[in-house]
Point group: C2
Chain length 210, copies 2
């Protein structure tokens, strides 16, 4: 398999963790987002959104969108599972993941922040925007799992929820958010970071890290 | 069941279609988004994000996030299926749905547009932002299914992809996007709109429509 990504892309980071948890290896192909490499014609041919990640599998199959990729990995390589069996618990895990993957990450990604600059906003306002999105979004996530014993977001093993949480907390810190306000999220992050699958997927451990 | 929503919320619209396709009825509870009713304390107690929809099911269960709700409906009420059986096809359907539910909808929702106004952008710039997000996002979606025979997004029956597409096209038109540029998307929309489940879920058919 080939994973098209970027060390700092939190959506790529989610898929890196999933591959590691499943014990799968992939060739990592880096697309430098700040240089616009994700908009090169040959990349757009496999990912019309011009976003990372894209996973190329055996037999020429191409998968885009991190959560769709991760559910595909979970369906084709079931062990260890990244979703619970019970439909209600699955819905809770997916909802938490989507609270990040829909309502935080895309609203603070590189493309959106660049557009804000194009509209004349000052750098301080742009960073403030990203911090606002992360702070409000993570505050809701904290409430979603405040009653969960853990130590992971949902139970005693990582799920898709944790795969989204750990990269998003990294983003939040980069934008200056005081994550100490989210003790339950930090508990899940601490449990995750003890696992080699999470540690090896960290941005600073990637070959294209700057 | 009780569905907390709003007639014009495209995420609520997705879930209304799913309920109709499954032949399920729900009591519809409207939260007027422009009046901020989704931030009332009693609503935040069940949906900490302060977003619609929320589905309350039997036995006091509470589900949030439209895609998680729809997959739960699909897992607990399998007929008719809203996802194909094959893992690769499932991933393609989910990716298309997420290209809308992650990368279009949350970047042009009421909350984001209100924030742009707060930052001093003119109304024309705010509408331009929403149109840009829809235009770029739907152009990528068109490419994702251009090779699909259809008539729906993926095959001859509606999937989660169509449940996301039809409401998003309605948004795009509201923001002045020329959707004629997306003939394959319009073909899927036309097939969907022939179904009573889609027609009955339309914003203008809801009790809280203005």
């Amino acid at each position: 398999m080939k994973l098209h990504g970027y060390f700092r892309s939190s959506a790529s980071y989610r898929v890196r963790i999933a591959l590691n948890l499943k014990g799968l290896s992939a060739e990592h192909l880096s697309h430098h987002l700040r240089k616009g490499e994700q908009r090169a014609p040959d990349y757009l041919a496999i990912n019309p959104q011009g976003l990372v990640p894209t996973l190329e599998g055996d037999g020429g199959i191409v998968l885009i969108q991190s959560l769709a990729i991760i559910e595909w990995l979970d369906e084709t390589h079931p062990q260890p599972p990244l979703l619970p069996d019970d439909p209600l618990r699955r819905a809770q895990v997916r909802a938490f993941a989507q609270a990040i993957a829909c309502d935080i990450h895309p609203v603070q990604n590189l493309k959106v922040l660049a557009r804000l600059r194009d509209l004349g906003l000052a750098e301080e306002q742009v960073t403030g925007w990203a911090a606002w999105v992360n702070r409000e979004g993570l505050a809701a996530c904290e409430k979603l799992i405040i009653g969960e014993a853990g130590p992971f977001c949902f139970g005693d093993a990582p799920t898709i929820a944790d795969l989204c949480l750990v990269p998003q907390l990294a983003n939040a810190r980069r934008f200056g958010v005081d994550v100490a306000a989210f003790p339950r999220l930090l508990k899940a992050e601490a449990a995750a970071k003890e696992l080699k699958a999470f540690a090896d997927a960290a941005p600073e451990r990637q070959g294209d890290a700057e």
